[in-house]
């Protein structure tokens, strides 16, 4: 799956967890999920669960540590799908 396709599937997942004062147009590939998009860090685990369901993959604890921005998520998803 190419990264544009992944991004299109990922964007609505992230959008769900945006605080009310952040708009979906602020999401881009380099957006830091917690610092720039102001997503509550507790919701990172929910984002991961939604990604797992959408792409039928499973994240490990170490994968979680690498997840900072949208690009990190795309890379992780690509690696998992390839396996």
């Amino acid at each position: 799956m190419i990264s544009d396709e992944i991004y299109d599937l990922l964007e609505p997942i992230i959008k769900t967890y945006l605080p009310e004062d952040v708009s979906a147009i602020d999401i881009n590939r380099s957006s830091d999920l917690t610092r720039e998009l102001n997503i509550n860090s507790a919701h990172l685990v929910d984002i991961v669960l939604d990604i797992e369901d959408k792409f039928n993959i499973e994240f490990k604890n170490e994968d979680m540590e690498k997840l900072r921005n949208v690009n990190d998520a795309i890379l992780l998803i690509q690696q998992k799908i390839a396996k």
Binding site: N40, H43, V45
Partner: protein, 426 residues
Amino acid sequence: MKKRVVITGLGVVSPNGVGIPDFKEAIKSGSSGIRFFPELRELKFSCQLGGQPEISEEKKREYLSELQLRNFNSSGILYGVIAGMDALKDAGLNVTNKNEEPLWELGIIFGSGTSGVEKFREAIYKIDDKNVRRLGSTSVAQTMTSGVSAYLGGLIGAGNKVTANSSACATGTEALLMGFEHIANGKATYMLCGSTSDYGPYIWGGFDAMKVTTYKYNDMPQNVAGPMSANASGFVPGSGAGAYLLESLESAQKRGATIYAEVLGGAINNGGQRGEGSMTAPNSIAIQKCITDALTDAGITASEIEYINGHLTATIKDTDEIKNWSSALNRKDNDFPYINSLKGMTGHCLAASGSIEIVSAILQLHEGFIFPNVNCGNLHPEIASIIASEKVVTKLQEIPLQTIAKASFGFGDVNACVIFRKNKYI
């Protein structure tokens, strides 16, 4: 010098009415929220009746965001949030914006018995399935006892004490008295207090097993023998939440707020599970002491009580409660105050019973009426031997009230009694 404390806001989520206008209409007309639940029959409950507030999807979205409602499965938190936010709004107070300082003078005490059982059940299934990682971020917040106060605290921006109390069926009355003391001692200006109880079989099952609920009316939910009836055979379990905004009198007067009632005082005690008291049965000596201590704390005499909002659950213990009130107040027959119980219309809302009933009591005091104690055409003969039957109000009475008492009793031999008064401060 203790501060005087008044109630300036009310909110309620009751099986027979959500929101103050609907609830007030329901209690005046004796409209019951008790229904038959097919799922309880399916689960082989003895009592297949219950009380559940009706809340639409649109209504939920007036209080919680789409994100907050994602994987949301805690009826008690929903009820508590609606009641709490309504009480705040009713008092004319506003929430703070995200970037402002917290409201240091506003605290919350919102109790529950068990919180978020449906959510907990969901989590337990996942954990037993070796899938703990799939719980997501929502399990803790929706199952912690302080769930309602934490949700409300965040919605409002409360910066004073934000906590939860738990004392079985006395929880709501205890929450009010804890908030009262906090303001009286000068530690806060506003306290949003109340209690909540989840809906459903996982909360109600234990009571069904103890045979304290009634199995006799499954096919006629509108006819369940009410509190104090000779035919009372056990309670119907209910759910919901009640909330009140307590405020120092000086603040309420300065704001020009509507004052529903003054909290004159009250008492909380425990029968120690000694004498006739046990985990599940009350010690009458403690109940009487709780009532007399409340009078002392309020600085009034027993003769001033005009109306009692009873705990009265429609069980064999109703007679004991009447005896205890009569002994504690030293009043009987025609001299006994008016008395009723809301539980005939809502079922026993367990941890939420005290708060929903306090809301009903305050509305009666504020507007001058006594709602009908429903389905009590046949007053228990032992009760009739203690107090005049017309003191048990079975038809709506418009009557000005000035001083009233409310008590709640619960498992663990807990007792709480509070005295309210109207208009003496103006």
